[in-house]
Symmetry: C2
Subunit: 471 residues, 2 copies
Amino acid sequence: MIYRFAGPVIRPSAVWRRYSTQVVGDSTLKKLLQSNAHVGKEVTVNGWVRSVRKLKNVAFADVADGTTEKSLMVVMKPDQGKLLSTGACISITGSLEPSKGKGQDLELVASEGETAINVLGESSPEYPFQKKYHSPEFLRSIPQFRWKGARNSSVLRYRSYAQSQFAKYFEQNDYTMVNSPIVTSSDCEGAGETFSINPPQFFGEKGANLTVSSQLHLEVFAASLTRVWNMAPAFRAEESDTNRHLSEFWMVEAELAFTRSLEDVLAVAEGMIRAANPLGNERAMNNILSSIRDEEKRNVVKARWESLVNNGEPWARITYTEAVKLIQESGEKLKPIEWGQDLASEHEKYLAGKVFKGPVFVTDYPKSIKPFYMKPSGDGTVACFDLLVPELGELIGGSLREDNYDNLLQAMKDADMNIQDLDWYLDLRKFGSFPHGGFGMGFERFVCYICGVENIRDAIGFPRWAGSCVC
Amino acid sequence: MIYRFAGPVIRPSAVWRRYSTQVVGDSTLKKLLQSNAHVGKEVTVNGWVRSVRKLKNVAFADVADGTTEKSLMVVMKPDQGKLLSTGACISITGSLEPSKGKGQDLELVASEGETAINVLGESSPEYPFQKKYHSPEFLRSIPQFRWKGARNSSVLRYRSYAQSQFAKYFEQNDYTMVNSPIVTSSDCEGAGETFSINPPQFFGEKGANLTVSSQLHLEVFAASLTRVWNMAPAFRAEESDTNRHLSEFWMVEAELAFTRSLEDVLAVAEGMIRAANPLGNERAMNNILSSIRDEEKRNVVKARWESLVNNGEPWARITYTEAVKLIQESGEKLKPIEWGQDLASEHEKYLAGKVFKGPVFVTDYPKSIKPFYMKPSGDGTVACFDLLVPELGELIGGSLREDNYDNLLQAMKDADMNIQDLDWYLDLRKFGSFPHGGFGMGFERFVCYICGVENIRDAIGFPRWAGSCVC
């Protein structure tokens, strides 16, 4: 084949010969194992050794490439296994056969001879990620290797699956995916402490911060495109040293025009989460379950997924006022609460975990504890919601937005805000104002809940928190 | 229906009555216009008035909601049109009928009576985005309204389409989508000036910067998952005041393990771009073309798409050495170049625009002008590539990565780098090293090229550059 070229003819071989000496492989474990098409055939597999067992007459290696939850057992002659150690990167040629061992359907029987097993990258006993129990704290100290294990890599694969499902859900419902800005000169009031940027006046006299929420900018997009969603990093400069806070995290946010019903917003939030339920996809389900060794924990996670299905019924709804009453009358040892105070994490967990035993939308919180932009719903409350889930508490927060110019301006004055800085936001209500609402979900909290990850630092590739940004 | 609830039974009506007073509408223009299912029926349409024409016996309004490239012509009685002005947000009930006018298939004939047209948000003559020519500079000064026009909103819809197509392409090829960190303590050497973060020691003594490229972290993900891709914001603190630089932009990056052939990396880059070619999807094509008024410009854009199809043939490849020779022997008035110097933008445009008249991969640049991590390909060159396209120049850059520990360490010493800061990166070559490569594409440059946008500031929702971060 000759490439289109107006000058002298160049054939690919002339260009490529020099480094096309060896294509190591062109297939992934996912491709090889997803059908029986390769059984009985000679294949070349690339991956990393998770464990190796060397016996007198045979050696076994567990090899994974992270494209699937499955690893592949390689059966070798003892001398072929000699060079292998945990962590080594290898390329093996052999025959894919029905497995004689337990725990897997197929195994790879290495071909005979020296060239069948090719060590691409050696490992050594100093390799920090050995085949034994490592604490999550230790694994976080080796960010370059921590995702190689079965458990952790399953979390990354689920992240990818969830993002893809969110995208499909929103696409089917006529949403445009937008990219809101990370650097901003507008603070989304009340969302927390911000990081500012150096050089200080690079963007102008006002300076600039890392975004704490995309909401205000999403409203601009919604004013043009009606239905928008966004997945973007957000930042909070808080010292919180908890298992559910990060300084850098990803948020999934949606904003929809032309609704005066909070129920519409709830339906979108619910639909989005349902779309990413692992129960809807066998691969996603197996990806997570196969990575959890403890059966009891597997059952806890499966029960969560079932509770999100909720037999196909819409999730429970309750107002804040009713929630406070339930807590007050619970007879449980809970922190006392009066109407007007925010729910504490233990209240949230009680409501979702003990009362509803599944997801529950708590709506209509007092105006005084919510940001300026929420639309009043009467009696000192605003048309907002938090989605609570058992054991975790708040997963999503959202509201209808105040679309009346005078009311919004008054709310901003009442909140003692800098009105000039947000004139662009007010303008959305001045010209062509539209009834709308939306919500935001911390993606890593969601990943924790679905995958049964206990510390949010283990639900994101490179977690950042106060004092920690190791690479 | 009764919601699952362990306490007193709550019926939805009790919770919702208070703000479910009016659901304005539940359909988008996209849904209404994508089939003939609604023709002859009464529908309610929500959107913003792009223009209005009031005659003696009839009034017309062009209404759009941004979910599709199409707007809808509304035909009204003169008194119904009285309240309408450009920019107003309206909800109209009427009958969807085959259009008698030119330029659209369907029109909405408003029902009779006062309630048929409901002004949700008024506009006024002070509305800054009127139905007339506004310069891109002016539109950038009204970020809250600039995306409402047909041209600009088509760019946002294409961004969404392209992201969705990238995701599908990578998913089909067993890639995991990952999210690399934005805040980092590691500089991806040579990628440009960085922004640092305040409070200065929040993350530790070293401080932290906004990422300039996700590549180094992507290599960690590839060491666990084999094939990964990423779409994330990147930041450059450069004062460049050009039509192709932003301080905040989005990058699409991919990293693939188990290749020693740069050709594999090129194939992925090419496949990804082909997947988002508007020619592959009638809606994507019409979205862009219908927003370009000038026929000549429409043809330029279509020709670009055709050049990316390239009759199904792989795109042209040429080495840097051959490229330099072509420039030297071109007989054109170009900036002189000697082997060893980087290609200037005018050289890139000459090669792609005049010689190849389409996309061309230029490979094997001199090692001296490329970053430390690229793998040598012989004769002082490295196994890297830039993808050049006519009129724009560089669109993608990528390479094979040095996977030998000793060689990488030496390259870092030669580049006078802080080796301790990148020990985690070196570790990838110390334990289980793997042959790999990857690339990065500036997403907004790609959007400019595909949509025919001349200034990169008009290819992103809220552009940031030196001196500008207005909201």
